[in-house]
Symmetry: C2
Subunit: 456 residues, 2 copies
């Protein structure tokens, strides 16, 4: 195969993999889908990436860029064979610039490692996707990853100031820079963030850092009534507090972590809120009191607060136990992230509960209630065709509910492969055509991550 | 003229203007350039805009969208005649949604009026361009306007969650929505913000609001040494404080406001910093003390603080007096916004001072030092050809200095007409080509604001 030889010449034979076993290692992501690439390449430099993309563009070979493969929408799956371009070897933190509060990193840097390094220097990189101990900044940028802290601090896109990228035709270009303000032409930086590797390969990122909050406190509030919990959420924001996190778990999620992980929670609770406030110590105390008051005003049956790292950890245990608990029930986990305006969270939760009953599915509801970004998770068995058909119908209804409530298909996981069929419902034909024209103009041979975002 | 008749049929004859006097009223902006449109139209509805754009696209007539005409880069000037599309009659605040903390507005809403209205309800729309009492949200979105509060709160783009827009081919599409998180396909919202009316006409905007800070305090610090003032700036950020504003004035700016506006400032000072902190009262006190300490640590000769609105007003008087004072000297004001990384502010100021001496120009330096967004203002007389040639050379050197220091041509004014020739220097040929392909794909007949961003 001529392609193999050429890739070997560019990246070195030992960085090109073509056996079935090796290709299988890059055929998965965080979804339950599998797609084998024809070949796997691990480039060692930007120059090699430029050459690989030029080769692919000239030969019409699809390229599927990939970080740690933790994505939840199929964004990195090599759905048309071709080249799996694995960027994990470009993993240097090139610079931490204290005076300008920015970091310059390569795409393969692990998010959690960057966070630990900047926190040692009194700075903070807030985006905190669930997989932060393994996922990469490149993947975070591709999907515009979020996390619990999004409600106060925003998502990955809010921290990307500039990029170096290889375009689909093999040019190396730069967008943005180290300045916070930049209105020199179109905002290509933000266009690239969340474009899921369809418009270019990020080879370097300039990330904004902020001062590390000096204090943080955590509140766990237990409610007998889901509606009251939802009212408490709105009350917190109305009081002028923007918490650092505002997580919710519904009764099914609570039941699951009690039964599967032995969490110390009341089995009859209808909702739990896990709320953090951070900032200056004096402000944190004031906000903590306001949060507790909002919860008690809406009949929280208990409000626990934690100040030490250890106590916080205890409170977060139940929240963190959800995903591991779920996969003990059944093997196939479908994690959605349909997002609604904050005030629609109670209505959305009721609709999700209705969908759960209608299709008799294991559906638990948790997620980032403060920004309306819920994570309805369905746990099923992909070998059970009848159940998977019900899952598919339920997922369609989840999206329909989100759109009817003024929301969106995806808050932080991206469209990838799995939500592409629903794009038309959210954007309409002219909106989708406007988006597609951008893709066509920048990637005329459709080599970069084809089959994603736009369904064929 | 057939175009006139057709426009009259669409928007009503009384909303179409074609006399020389009327056209002159829409031939200017905040720069010193003048370009007469062939015809002026004030549409009264979105439907009329759709029809006008379809007519223009079919007939190849250039369309120049326009708000209040306060732009500082020539973004709204009708450089090729055609239609001046004046959006000021679409000026309704359609919704203020307290629960979701968003406002839905038409493009002609005046920024300051929106701010006043949301502040009455305990919410805050931070972007604060200098012209906020007259400029419109539509114009702010087109240029991604900033202001002093950008250093803490970001710029217009950070507050636009969704848009309704008419595409260059006359389709009505929607981007984003009321949710804070949205990764459904490309971030068209952010692509539109700052695209200077070249990719679509914004007809509705969904804006994010935040809680109104409960307290604000202001510090005016006077320095004998510009370098010490610059060090104080970095020291403030190093201490973990992100001030709401961090404004600087150099000796020439100080001299100008003393002589022209009678400001009560020491004539021999080399720099003044105007710093605001806001948030919870307890946090504000703590941050205020840290700011004062940073200033004193770097030899501030005086540090005045103000708490009441009246005292704050007094401190801001000198800063606000700069622009009016400047135009008393000479008629032609060139306001730049080249931006550098924060740590490069002292070097940038030295280079600007050197440029001032080299070209014997009235150049004063002030602006948003906290985010590196300085405003070197040159005051000249456009009837003096020799002086204007020196201005042009000086402006070129200002851009060169900003780029050499890792900065950008424009932090908040946009590229418009005046900086288009310098785009290549910042972006390089492949970067500029990538950007231009987006324009060509979305506006194939090049009817929307042609001649802007990209020089022909």
């Amino acid at each position: 195969m001529a392609l193999l030889t050429q890739l070997g010449k560019i990246a070195g034979d030992h960085n090109v993999f073509s056996s079935r076993e090796e290709r299988f290692c890059y055929a998965y992501d965080g979804t339950y889908h599998l797609h084998l690439p024809d070949v796997v390449v691990k480039p060692q430099s930007v120059e090699q990436i430029v050459k690989i993309i030029k080769l692919a563009n000239d030969s019409g070979t699809p390229v599927f860029p990939r970080g740690a493969g933790t994505g939840l929408s199929g964004g990195s799956l090599p759905v048309r064979g071709g080249i799996a371009l694995v960027l994990t070897d470009l993993d240097r933190i090139l610079e931490i610039d204290d005076a300008n509060q920015v970091a310059v990193v390569e795409p393969g840097v692990i998010t959690g490692q960057l966070q630990a390094m900047v926190e040692e220097r009194g700075m903070f990189y807030p985006p905190d996707p669930g997989s932060l101990e393994v996922c990469t900044i490149g993947g975070n940028i591709a999907e515009c990853a979020g996390g619990p802290r999004g409600v106060k601090y925003g998502v990955t896109g809010d921290y990307v100031l500039g990029l170096e990228l290889v375009t689909p035709t093999g040019d190396l270009i730069h967008t943005g820079g180290k300045t916070i303000k930049n209105v020199t032409g179109y905002d290509l930086t933000r266009l690239m963030v969340g474009s899921e590797g369809t418009l270019g390969i990020v080879t370097k990122a300039i990330l904004r850092l902020i001062p590390l909050p000096k204090a943080v406190k955590t509140v766990l509030a237990v409610f007998n009534d889901l509606l009251q919990a939802s009212e408490a959420i709105l009350d917190v924001f109305r009081s002028g507090v923007t918490p650092a996190t505002m997580e919710i778990m519904d009764a099914e999620a609570i039941k699951c972590v009690i039964e599967q992980a032995g969490a110390q929670l009341p089995l009859d609770a209808e909702a739990i809120l896990l709320i953090e406030v951070d900032g200056l110590p004096s402000a944190v105390e004031e906000e903590l009191a306001a949060v507790a008051e909002s919860c008690l005003r809406h009949q929280a049956r208990s409000v626990e607060t934690a100040g030490t790292a250890e106590e916080r950890n205890l409170l977060w245990q139940a929240r963190r136990a959800i995903s591991p608990s779920l996969v003990k029930l059944k093997p196939t986990k479908i994690s959605e992230d349909a997002t609604v305006p904050r005030a629609q969270v109670p209505t959305m939760i009721r609709r999700l509960q209705h969908i759960r009953e209608k299709y008799s599915l294991n559906l638990v509801i948790f997620g980032h209630a403060g920004d309306g970004n819920l994570h309805p998770n369905i746990i099923a068995d992909e070998r059970d065709a009848g159940e998977m058909a019900r899952v598919e119908a339920a997922v369609g209804e989840i999206f329909q509910a989100a759109l009817e409530l003024g929301g969106t298909l995806s808050g932080e996981h991206g469209i990838g492969l799995m939500k592409a069929p629903y794009m038309l419902a959210e954007l309409g034909a002219p909106g989708l055509a406007y988006m597609r024209r951008i893709k066509q103009s920048l990637d005329p041979n459709n080599i970069l991550n084809p089959g994603k975002i736009f369904s064929s």
